[in-house]
């Protein structure tokens, strides 16, 4: 059984600021503003010191624990030039190469 953090109403309440910031990144102008000054952008969305630190450190597991939803924080990752595989590998504590080696397509017949 996989280890999971179910996205409940309580988590949605807890993660609302981070998720709302991430949601805003569907606008190109907001992505530019985020890239120009990440910390200022995070303050605009009222993130706490701890939440700003999680984003600054790209601590995706910490963001999950803080109520972040993957479908939203992937927008932060994409804005900074990352991608789902890189984010996923990091959450597993692996390099991208290590993670890709676990995939069925790379496991041989």
């Amino acid at each position: 059984m996989p280890d999971m953090t179910v996205f409940t109403g309580e988590r949605s309440r807890q993660g609302y600021r981070i998720n709302k910031l991430a949601s805003s990144l569907t606008e190109p102008a907001n992505r530019e503003a985020f890239l120009a000054d990440e910390d200022a952008y995070c303050r605009r969305y009222g993130l706490t010191d701890q939440e700003r630190q999680l984003i600054a450190e790209r601590d995706w597991n910490g963001i999950v624990a803080a109520g972040g939803n993957i479908y939203l924080f992937i927008k932060i990752a994409a804005t900074i030039g990352s991608n789902l595989v890189a984010v996923g590998a990091r959450m597993r504590g692996e390099s991208v190469e290590e993670f890709l080696a676990t995939r069925p397509v790379n496991q041989g017949p």
Partner: protein, 276 residues
């Protein structure tokens, strides 16, 4: 009078969209996934339906958690592509069927399903990642999008999704003019996208789901969300949307296509039905 002439269940993913855009049909990571689609796409082209009702979920590109509908129904004549945070793909906007959309709104509400009725909707990879595999753009077949909350719990039950599909079928059947409609449901299959078990795949369960969807969907309706999540990963619970398609095509529908591959992050499935 309208009729349901087919049903398709198919997985969606942003990476599937990227694979299409980059033309990775021969890439080892993607060859098995690309190979799933042509027989169903050919069948769909032959059916030439008047509209597609597409049951999918919005990944916070049209709706946010300030007001996230359990069910939402599009009644527009066009559905632009959503910018999900990484720019737009070189694909046209979708044509809508406003008349059918409003008819569905009236019929579903009279049937005691109460979707949020949307006169404007942008549509994300829940529709856009699979549509090019089912029909070559530019697309002329109009769609009616039906979005389901499969992300923020509490979620509608699997049985509720099945009954939504039955209600969609009643709505189509009561349409005043001829309309041949295919119901498409997207999402799944096994995948988990967060935490230390990112990348969880469950091919055995995915194939059991396909078996049951064909032969005994009532068993799938009786499972609860935690059963789905524990078997297929937290995000895989979205597979309950396929039950809406199964409800729409009816109990005696004949299964036509079935394909499955799980090379990388997601169990990709495709199944199609033809009503009896």
């Amino acid at each position: 009078m309208g009729s349901i002439v087919g049903g398709i269940g198919v997985s969606h993913a942003p990476s599937l969209a990227r694979a299409y855009d980059e033309g990775l049909s021969d890439h080892p990571d993607w060859a098995d996934v690309f190979a799933m689609f042509p027989p169903a796409a050919e069948w769909l082209a032959g059916l030439d339906p008047d509209a597609l009702v597409v049951v999918y979920n919005d990944h916070m590109n049209r709706f946010f958690f300030d007001a996230y509908p359990t069910f939402a129904l599009g009644v527009a004549d066009e559905y632009p592509q959503a910018d999900e945070g990484w720019g737009l793909r070189p694909l046209p906007d979708l044509v809508g069927d406003s008349d059918l959309g409003w008819h569905l709104a009236r019929s579903l509400v009279a049937d005691e399903f109460d979707p949020t009725v949307c006169q404007e909707m942008v549509v994300d990879h829940g529709v856009y990642s699979v549509l090019p595999f089912l029909a070559e753009p530019p697309w002329s077949t109009p769609i009616v999008p039906v979005a389901v909350n499969v992300i923020r719990h509490p979620l509608p039950t699997p049985g509720r999704c099945f009954r939504l599909g039955q209600a969609i079928a009643r709505a189509v059947a009561s349409y005043p003019d001829d309309r041949r409609v295919v119901v498409v449901a997207t999402g799944g299959m096994s995948h988990q996208l967060h935490g230390p078990d990112f990348g969880h795949l469950a091919p055995e369960w995915d194939n059991q789901f396909l078996d049951l969807l064909e032969r005994d969907p009532s068993q799938l309706c009786q499972l609860d969300h935690s059963d789905y999540m524990q078997r297929g990963g937290a995000e895989s619970v979205e597979i309950i949307m396929w039950l809406a398609m199964r409800g729409a095509v009816g109990g005696s529908a004949r299964r036509l296509h079935r394909a499955y591959a799980a090379p990388m992050l997601t169990g990709y499935g495709l199944i199609s039905f033809e009503p009896a």
